[in-house]
């Protein structure tokens, strides 16, 4: 029996093979950070037990400020709704976090759902990255300051987006990945579109 190999939702586009180093030749550079860990976490942020337990495991308190996220040593914690967060971590850290959360939250009202198979992350950079998003989404990008996260439209589907470095991170659902990627390439056409070589993270090593 062959060794289990993970596949990203964008696998069919063979991004790795086309990836180049970012330069000035394109207005928009996109790269996928595939196969991260995603945990949908629900709970009551007014319940101190919940807040303490989660922050103990996640290495930072869950953001309670609407539409914000925090980066802890272990994971990125995104505010999705008043009682919902998305925890994004390296695949290699996933099981430990799930176990940790499950233990820490026993007896406390909560929901933990591993959604790692259901999402992927696309990183956009380049001088026209923001222009690109103004074609794909109705959100007022001026409001997307560093540290803020927005769930908004992407064509006729939706994404969660936030700033990272001088670019933008998009979290998208697996089954929509094909549509979103095609939509993204089409929207980027007038600016020149390149596929960037992602920094090698643990994610790929797991996958390889």
């Amino acid at each position: 029996m062959s060794k289990p190999i993970m596949q990203s939702p964008l696998h069919a586009f063979g991004l790795a093979a086309q990836a180049k180093l970012v330069d000035a030749s394109c207005g928009v550079w996109a790269s996928e950070t595939p196969l991260l860990g995603y945990i949908s976490l629900r709970g009551n942020s007014a319940d101190t037990a919940f807040v303490e337990a989660t922050s103990r495991v996640l290495g930072a308190p869950l953001p309670t400020q609407p539409c914000t996220f925090v980066q802890s040593a272990k994971a990125k914690l995104l505010w999705i709704g008043p009682d919902e967060w998305m925890i994004v971590c390296a695949r290699s850290a996933l099981q430990a976090l799930l176990r940790g959360l499950n233990e820490a939250l026993t007896g406390i009202r909560h929901q933990i759902a591993d959604n790692s198979g259901g999402y992927t992350q696309v990183y956009l950079q380049g001088k026209n990255a923001r222009d690109l998003l103004s074609h794909t989404s109705v959100y007022d990008l001026a409001a997307l300051q560093p540290g803020r996260v927005a769930g908004t439209t992407f064509g006729k589907s939706s994404v969660y987006m936030h700033r990272q470095g001088d670019g933008y991170c998009l979290l998208l659902r697996r089954s929509f990945a094909d549509y979103i990627w095609r939509y993204l390439i089409r929207a980027a056409e007038p600016y020149g579109f390149g596929i960037a070589r992602p920094e090698r993270g643990e994610a790929q090593e797991d996958a390889a």
Binding site: P4, S40, A113, N115, R173, S175, Y179, R182, R186, A187
Partner: protein, 1015 residues
């Protein structure tokens, strides 16, 4: 240099860049900066069109979006564009254009014959005739083929479009004097500003009046300075060739930007859009959209060579084109004077007839000084000419009543311009419900004299009814000071020198229809709406026939319904209607306009939503495997699912036969990943499920699954699926593929709005899990090869159990559930391993000839078992009892679950409702049509009573005969209880003219005892 070209230093054409183009096949030349209209006029080209109804010769009337006549077709083949206004077509090298009307030719148009009988074709004449039912279709054919301007392309569009969203603090619509000043005020105040102009360069009317003076410099110099400063401000975005065509609620403006059409096809940038739809959400919108000069209405005012006075001025000053050498101008106001002076200076002989008996002395002096022959108190009775204007017969007008006071001279001319005053461009203001008011002083519909039109919308300059340049600039400065104050900013324009050299204007004469001394309808036709051939007499006729509401008048005569959206005709139409009705204009009503301000392509509206990106197409993690194995696909909701897997030479029937037998006798495998999956957790999950499902959930133990039926409050089945108990307070629900999103929202709505007290959280995990269903007697053996940590033995892992374990080296949840009635295992794993698990199972199953199958085989297998597909066997009118699924309804539950109460209503409680049954044809080879209607006799006389219909129908390879599911009135009682041997009631299934005898039987055709799924 072409005949009508003159030397104007300030003109915006580049004489160093000559361009050649063709029109109606004939070669012409022009210059960069020309429009198709200006270039044709430069050649003295007069007639460009034939009119819609009477086939009258028509020429260019305006110089922009208001043009009603010169609709042209540009280019051919896939790139062709119908109905462009020649006045808006930027000339490029090699452009090829042609007329859109006139048959067989522009010179000899068949419709012009009808023109001779125009008096017998008044407004609405077709309502009054062609009433013969037999002949009407032929008349209609003729009417249709006489209609229409340009031709739609017949090839797919090779160019592309997209949308862009903006959020601005200030949006300024229009880049003329007012718009520039408004943008400057907001820009200097540091606000995010977007400035739009539909033309290729900023300036608006200033481009037509380069010699006016602002702040001590020429208008062209002033324009350069202000535009230059705006370009230097990083917070100001200037978009030219961008037309704001609609204003929606809460200051959402749609604008279309032209990115390619001004370039020769060979020079268009690959990958660039042809047009772009900008959606701009602005805190404040400043409408600086200017005004459009309306012509005066007089006899034969539609002859080629008769334009608006301002258009003649524009062609002269902006394009260095003298429309005529002998020009007659007719005006009711001061605006025509500047142009008259410029024309005279350019060497034309100019007669200016002013309908006013008292003139503005300052202007009169300037005009006479420039050599203009000014006549006070005259109007035009009728123009003369055939395919071009040759002269006009003037009449002396009564100084106060709009009536003829005496005869006047006949003036020869080769061009005639008229000015009936200006109409503010208030279209956008009307789009979201604004209603402009008639202003008797300005003789115009104005959005707001104060500039504050409504919350967040300001109107400046000519758009606000300030027609003079001086007033325009001052009103703009004033209004922007207020607008900025509203956003806590102060204007820096106070000190800005806005002094012009414009004389103070005197009031215009209130005149629209120039009297000819005859009763309306007796003289020469005087046109109000050129494009729709609406004459003043048609408006009178409409009123006479009691079409007295302005909307009736417009609809009866088609006034203002053309592609010019009534820009020239609207106010004249109102005024003439008011006269006919004996009412004042405000009494007639207020004008209103609907989007689009000017036409916008479907492609622009669609943007990226075409082809691959029209709408989301969703795929599972196994997609590559399916494609590689040659699957045919079926769209199911947003998903694309494998339909069947044909081997070479196999059709659907053959492939499905093979796939079915594999699943029944050996082992098959299906991708079930598309089912919706909702993780539900909380101490009240069981209670929640009890409320949203028809069945009971209190007893279901961890490790067990149960099939659930979901109803709406009306008691009808809306969704179904298997839900598993993970722990006491943790369940995993599955929904139908198409229903996933709807069910999720449905559950959230109930929880959030009705039962917030229930402790449950719901999260969609549809995309996380990939699901491979291994189906058939040999499925256990296949799974056993890949799974060592789950005891798969029948005793340990029962039907409707689920287990957690490892499959093919991956953590998995294995459900022993079956949608086929066979022994089956549904393996759920993290979708990242979806491809891996599919391939691993195929590999492991190879020795058992494991057969992948798609939705078609799934349907046959489930139909053989009488399992329903919600949406196929149900249509929103089926209760669980109609489906003979009382077993899935728990009437004992303490809480009145969703839909329960509705069962008790008289109609829902009837015992003879349409119910789900099985059908068997006498001839086992006949597969009934899905959608066949059930009737009780094959003696057809309509209306024929129908008792139900066939919902599912297949050939069953297992039974080697056809089977069908149907909903039949009182079906359950008609059903034979003795399996498939003998149906009690005999019915007919009727489709496409054929009736087939059928027996009503149990819907369970295969393994009624359900033994096979329990092995």
């Amino acid at each position: 240099m072409s005949s009508h070209r003159v030397n104007i230093a300030t003109a915006r054409i580049d004489t160093t860049r000559p361009l050649s183009f063709t029109f109606d096949g004939r070669p012409y030349s022009g210059y960069a900066g020309d429009t198709l209209a200006s270039a044709l006029l430069a050649h003295g080209h007069r007639m460009l069109a034939r009119s819609f109804k009477y086939g009258r010769p028509r020429g260019i009337v305006g110089a922009g979006a208001e043009e009603p006549n010169a609709l042209v077709q540009v280019e051919a083949g896939a790139l062709t564009i119908p109905n462009l206004k020649a006045t808006q077509v930027e000339l490029y090298q090699g452009l090829s254009g042609r007329r859109t009307t006139g048959w067989p030719s522009l010179e000899y148009d068949l419709k012009s014959l009808g023109g001779h009988f125009s008096r017998f074709m008044p407004a609405g004449f077709y309502y009054k005739t062609f009433q013969n039912r037999a002949l009407w279709p032929r008349f209609e054919h003729i009417i249709r083929h006489a209609a229409g301007y340009g031709s739609a392309p017949v090839e797919p569009d090779p160019e592309t479009y997209d949308h862009q969203h903006h959020h601005a603090e200030v949006l300024v619509v229009g880049g003329g004097a007012a718009g520039l000043l408004a943008a400057l005020a907001a820009g200097r105040a540091g606000l995010d500003v977007i400035l739009l102009d539909e033309q290729s360069e900023l300036g608006g009317w200033l481009l037509s009046a380069p010699n006016s003076v602002i702040g001590g410099k020429s208008a062209s110099a002033w324009l350069q300075d202000v535009a230059g400063e705006l370009q230097s401000l990083s917070n100001v975005r200037i978009m030219t060739r961008t037309s704001a065509f609609a204003l929606h609620d809460m200051n959402m403006i749609q604008a279309v930007e032209q990115l390619q059409d001004h370039l020769p096809p060979s020079e268009r940038t690959k990958g660039q859009r042809r047009q772009r739809l900008h959606r701009i959400r602005a805190s404040r919108v400043v409408l600086a959209s200017g005004a459009i000069e309306r012509p005066l209405v007089f006899g034969n005012n539609d002859l080629p060579g008769i334009l608006t006075a301002s258009a003649i001025t524009t062609y002269l000053n902006r394009y260095a084109v003298a429309v005529g050498r002998r020009v007659l101008l007719l005006t009711s106001n001061d605006h025509a004077y500047q142009g008259a002076c410029d024309l005279a200076r350019s060497g034309a002989s100019v007669v200016l007839a002013d309908t006013r008996s008292v003139l503005n002395p300052a202007w009169e002096r300037r005009a006479r000084a420039a050599g203009v022959d000014v006549m006070a108190g005259y109007g035009i009775a009728e123009a003369h000419g055939g395919r071009a204007v040759k002269g006009a017969h003037l009449m002396r007008l009564d100084s106060d009543r709009n009536a003829v006071a005496g005869n006047g001279p006949f003036i020869d001319c080769d061009a005639l311009g008229s000015s009936g005053g200006l109409s503010p461009t208030v279209h956008l203001y009307c789009h979201d419900g604004g209603r402009p008011q008639w202003d008797e002083k300005r003789l115009a519909f104005v959005a707001s004299a104060t500039g504050r039109a409504k919350a967040g919308i300001y109107v400046v300059g000519a758009a606000a009814g300030e027609f003079g340049l001086q007033k325009t600039l001052e009103q703009t400065r004033q209004t922007m000071t207020e607008a900025l104050a509203a956003s806590g900013k102060s204007s820096s324009l106070a000190s800005f020198n806005l002094q012009t050299d414009e004389p103070d204007t005197i009031p215009a004469r209130r005149i629209f229809r120039v009297p000819d001394g005859k009763l309306e309808g007796h003289g020469k036709k005087a046109f109000v709406d050129f494009q729709n051939d609406v004459a003043a007499s048609d408006i009178h006729l409409a009123v006479r026939e009691n079409y007295r509401s302005i909307e009736h008048i417009k609809r009866y005569t088609a006034l203002g319904f053309g592609t010019d959206q009534g820009k020239l005709s609207n106010v004249n139409g109102f005024a003439i209607a008011a006269e006919a009705l004996g009412k004042s204009i405000p009494e007639v009503g207020t004008t209103t306009y609907r989007p689009a301000y000017s036409p916008v392509t479907f492609g622009t509206l669609a943007g990226a939503h075409e082809g691959d990106t029209f709408e989301p197409r969703r795929f599972t993690a196994m997609q590559e495997s399916h494609v590689r194995r040659g699957a045919e696909f079926e769209p199911v909701g947003q998903w694309l699912r494998p339909w069947y897997f044909p081997k070479s030479g196999e059709d659907l029937h053959a492939a499905v036969g093979r796939e079915c037998l594999a699943a029944r006798r050996g082992v098959g495998i299906m991708d079930a990943s598309t089912l919706g999956k909702i993780d539900i957790r909380g101490k009240d999950v069981r209670e929640f499920l009890n409320r949203v499902y028809a069945n009971a959930w209190t007893q279901l133990a961890p490790g067990k699954c149960r099939y659930g039926l979901m109803l709406d409050e009306n008691g009808m089945v809306t969704d179904d699926g298997v839900t598993a108990c993970v722990t006491d307070n943790h369940f995993l629900m599955t929904t139908t593929t198409g229903g996933a999103a709807r069910v999720m929202t449905w559950l959230e709505k109930w929880h959030q709005t009705e039962w917030p007290d229930l402790d449950v959280f719901m999260t969609s995990v549809t995309d996380h899990w990939a699901t491979a269903a291994v189906v058939g007697p040999k499925s256990r053996q296949v799974l056993a090869k890949l799974c060592s940590d789950i005891d798969l033995s029948p005793g340990a892992f029962k039907f409707m159990d689920w287990r957690e374990g490892t499959v093919a080296g991956v953590p998995a949840r294995v459900f022993r559930i079956s949608f086929s009635g066979e022994l089956a295992f549904e393996v759920n794993i993290d979708a990242s391993y979806g491809h891996h698990i599919w391939e691993a199972l195929m590999q492991a199953g190879a020795e058992f000839d494991i057969t992948p199958y798609g939705t078609e085989t799934m349907h046959v297998l489930r139909a053989e078992k009488g399992f329903i597909i919600v949406g196929q066997d149900t249509d929103g009118s089926m209760t669980p009892f109609d489906l003979d699924m009382a077993w899935a309804v728990s009437m004992k539950k303490p809480f009145s679950f969703i839909g329960k109460r509705s069962f008790a209503r008289s109609d829902t409680a009837r015992s003879d409702r349409k119910q789900l049954v099985g059908l068997l044809t006498d001839d086992p080879k006949i597969v009934l049509k899905e959608g066949a209607q059930i009737i009780e006799s094959d003696d057809i006389k309509s209306p024929m009573p129908m008792h139900g219909h066939v919902t599912s129908s297949y050939f069953s390879p297992e039974l080697n005969r056809s089977i069908a599911l149907a909903v039949v009135r009182d079906g359950i009682s008609r059903r034979s209880d003795s399996g498939i041997k003998a149906g009690r009631d005999v019915l007919y299934a009727w489709a496409g003219g054929k009736a087939h005898k059928v027996k009503v039987v149990s819907p369970v055709f295969v393994d009624p005892e359900g033994a096979r799924q329990n092995v």
